[in-house]
């Protein structure tokens, strides 16, 4: 028989009255009240769980994310909106200089990015009509960033300047952001990363991600600290073909270190695209279609030099891993 209300509870009312006093008197015994109260407590134990984070936050443990400076502003006080434009017409994967892509190398040296991380990675993609093109790919700094959406602890966050940063002091290493980034732009510190000793002396900030922290995620940070100080990001400075532009959407200006362009005009006049536009991630990195034709690259010469990490002999005992 089932002990639902219908099956079980049919006891004579008189019956009940004769029994209950005895029950109530016996201190530790389980009366109807006590049982219900216990169950109520049990249910209460279940209910507040979702509220827990809010309570802890209310108790004042919600510190602001550390280390991000005040956003850069235009002269009339608007917050700058950093943007990158990559002119694929001028990118030849550094074939002409015969070296590993200089943007990647400069980024690695500047950030002490551990092997095998290439925060700006030069992919070689097949062109639909044969031949290949080189596509330097940093974090796309999405304005609808899937990685920020899924991070359980807000270790990955969007900034007022429109960049996406990671606080490696808060990251718990769950890696759901890596699963959700559609551009494969996130890298994990699987072990004690091979870095030169001098990098360990730096003051940590999510805007520079030095020194590395094991068990956390890293990626391109768009170098907002350098931009604020009036310097271009490492990759922009290093490109021998001046294919990379960095700028501010708010003031509608960008530069590759030599020429100055109006962002809106430059994008519109050159049919700029963004990667995987259909996903709705709204990247802050724009591409001008091409395959190195402006610097005389032959699309049928494939291959680029493999990336190197300059301090590897100094970090000889360090663990490395493959991607």
């Amino acid at each position: 028989m089932d002990h639902d209300a219908t099956g079980r509870a049919i006891a004579e009312p008189g019956d009940r009255r004769t029994r209950e006093p005895g029950t109530a008197a016996g201190g530790p015994r389980l009366g109807r009240r006590r049982l219900l109260r216990l169950l109520g407590l049990g249910a209460l134990g279940v209910a507040p769980l979702p509220v827990l984070p809010e309570l802890i936050r209310a108790a004042g443990r919600d510190e602001p994310v550390q280390g991000t400076g005040d956003p850069a502003r235009t002269r009339d006080g608007r917050i700058r909106q950093w943007v990158m434009i990559i002119d694929l017409r001028s990118c030849d994967g550094c074939q002409s200089v015969g070296q590993p892509p200089r943007c990647t190398a400069a980024c690695i040296e500047g950030h002490f990015a551990p092997e095998p991380m290439e925060w700006i990675e030069v992919f070689e993609a097949d062109l639909p009509g044969g031949g290949t093109q080189f596509i330097p790919t940093p974090c796309q700094h999405c304005q609808n960033p899937p990685c920020v959406n899924v991070c359980p602890v807000a270790a990955t966050f969007s900034t007022p300047e429109g960049t996406v940063l990671i606080d490696q002091d808060r990251c718990i290493g769950c890696r759901i952001c890596m699963a959700s980034c559609p551009y494969d732009r996130r890298f994990f510190n699987w072990g004690d990363a091979p870095v030169p000793p001098e990098s360990l002396l730096a003051d940590y900030s999510p805007e520079h991600q030095v020194p590395v922290r094991r068990g956390t995620v890293m990626k391109c940070d768009f170098c907002p600290d350098m931009a604020r100080a009036g310097t271009l990001p490492y990759c922009i400075q290093a490109c021998p073909q001046r294919a990379l532009y960095y700028g501010d959407l708010e003031e509608d200006v960008a530069t590759n270190g030599r020429a100055l362009v109006s962002v809106s005009r430059f994008l519109a006049e050159n049919q700029a695209e963004r990667q995987k536009e259909e996903l709705g991630t709204k990247p802050r990195v724009y591409y001008i279609p091409g395959h190195g034709e402006a610097v005389g690259r032959d699309v049928f010469t494939p291959g680029r030099e493999p990336t190197e990490w300059p301090w590897m002999e100094r970090a000889a005992e360090a663990v490395t891993w493959q991607r």
Binding site: D4, A5, A9, A11, I172, L279
Partner: protein, 455 residues
């Protein structure tokens, strides 16, 4: 009436037997499981010392065996909910002798599953950040909330129907068992002495709980699937995922229940209560869920395969032909088709057949979880050659340790708590032996004796 009370006495003795006698074989099993756990502890220590670099996971396949095992364990936790809540609601009476085992499985599987999330973390030292900085928008937080809620609810749901049995243990073992046990049963029986009022409140409490726990269970596995479905990976991009995961969870839950039933029946001589009928009914239920799974797989594969969007061709190749071919075909044929065939054929329609089917399903469902996780991440996102993943000895050791923990907790449970819901079985037995037309109201009275005998 004498026959009834003799039957009843035998039932109580069967329930008490595991606590009264502990054989050498039991200790051997415990020692073996502890050894496996110890090995797992060593593996985990290695991982803590060197970092996740000791696993086979890397940037491009950044989840692997741990997450698959997490999903697997959360899945089998649905055994308890299905058997004790869904079948209780539908008043399927045959379930009573196995409810308790199913509820054990639920609680233990949840504990094991949750530990695999922690094992997978890069920074387990910061796990409390989840509470300090938790964000509603993250599927991981949905999971933390759903799983802790489910754990609390299923512990309550294990405990409440056990109160009369704990009182039975308290009374029967009073003075005849160690101090801590006496204390434990006294405390847990929370003053139960089987009055009509207590039975009534127990009845309504169970009624509320069983309704409450079903949506909780469904939500748990739905949000587990959303960890995957909320990302932008082609093979995981499916609105079906929640329902598919819930069905798979119940499916694997039934399989584990059949296996645990078979082992406990052997070990504790429960043949009188856990009969062939139970194996057959559960086997049929499992076959029905296999059919649901086949349906879900077909609709998933067809909607993806017909259009062959970017990445789907690669995914289908790795599923059916290359990388995961053997695993996936085993899952389809051994895990989904075979249980149906076994349930249909008269000469396999017996305890052995069902246990074999359950073993196949358990393996297949673990494999399914593994394939979903790894194949989903393996489809390249950019112009790079596909990565590969193979679990290392650390991961395999921790999987073994997880299974050992599961077995160990159940083994220990059986030595402390009644593995058969005595009063429910008794109620069942007495209801069926009573002559037709007997007043149902008599039953609460007899039940009262059950809890109150020792007083």
């Amino acid at each position: 009436m004498a026959a009834v009370s003799a039957w009843r006495g035998r039932l109580e003795e069967t329930a008490l037997a595991p606590i009264r006698r502990t054989g050498l074989r039991y200790w051997a099993l415990v020692a073996f499981l502890l050894a496996v756990l110890g090995w797992g502890a060593y593996a985990y220590w290695t991982q803590l010392r060197d970092g996740l670099v000791v696993t086979g996971m890397r940037d491009r396949i950044s989840w692997g065996l741990y997450i698959a095992t997490f999903v697997f364990f959360i899945g089998i936790s649905h055994a308890g909910t299905l058997i004790s809540a869904i079948l209780r609601v539908s008043q399927a009476r045959w379930r009573t002798p196995v409810t308790r085992m199913a509820e054990f499985i639920t609680v233990v599987a949840l504990v094991c599953g949750a530990s695999f999330v922690i094992i997978d973390l890069g920074r387990p030292d910061r796990v409390l950040n989840v509470f300090a900085y938790g964000r509603w928008q993250s599927p991981i937080i949905w999971d933390v909330l759903a799983i802790t809620t489910y754990l609390t609810a299923s512990i309550t749901y294990l405990f409440v129907p056990m109160i009369p049995d704990l009182a039975l243990f308290r009374d029967r073992l009073a003075g005849r068992t160690s101090r801590w046990r006496g204390w434990l049963y006294r405390a847990l029986a929370i003053g139960w002495d089987g009055t009509a009022a207590q039975w009534r409140s127990l009845g309504s409490a169970i009624g509320v709980l069983m309704i409450l726990i079903i949506p909780i269970a469904v939500s748990v596995h739905t949000v587990v699937s959303w960890i995957f479905a909320m990302t932008m990976r082609v093979p995981w991009n499916s609105a079906l995922f929640g329902a598919f995961f819930v069905a798979g969870a119940i499916f694997s839950g039934i399989a584990i229940l059949i296996i645990v039933m078979a082992i406990l029946r052997r070990g504790y001589h429960l043949d009188e209560y856990v009969t062939e009928k139970h194996f057959l009914y559960l086997g049929y239920l499992m076959a029905a869920f296999a059919a649901i799974m086949i349906y879900a797989n077909i609709s998933e594969l067809v909607t993806h395969g017909y259009k062959m969007e970017e990445g789907v061709e690669f995914h289908f190749r790795q599923l059916f032909l290359t990388q995961f071919g053997a695993l996936y075909w085993f899952y389809l044929l051994g895990g989904l088709v075979a249980p149906i065939v076994i349930a249909l054929l008269p000469w396999t329609r017996n305890v052995r057949g069902m246990v074999a089917a359950a073993l196949l399903v358990t393996m297949a469902m673990w494999i399914e979880r593994y394939v979903i996780v790894v194949s989903g991440l393996r489809v390249p996102l950019m112009a790079y050659p596909p990565a590969d993943y193979a679990p290392t000895w650390v991961e395999w050791s921790l999987l073994a340790a997880g299974l050992a923990l599961f077995a160990l907790l159940i083994t220990l449970f059986t030595k402390v708590f009644p593995i058969i819901a005595v009063w429910e079985v008794a109620e069942e037995g007495e209801a069926s032996t009573a002559a037709p037309g007997t007043d149902r109201r008599a039953v609460p009275e007899t039940m009262e004796l059950a809890g109150g005998t020792g007083r």
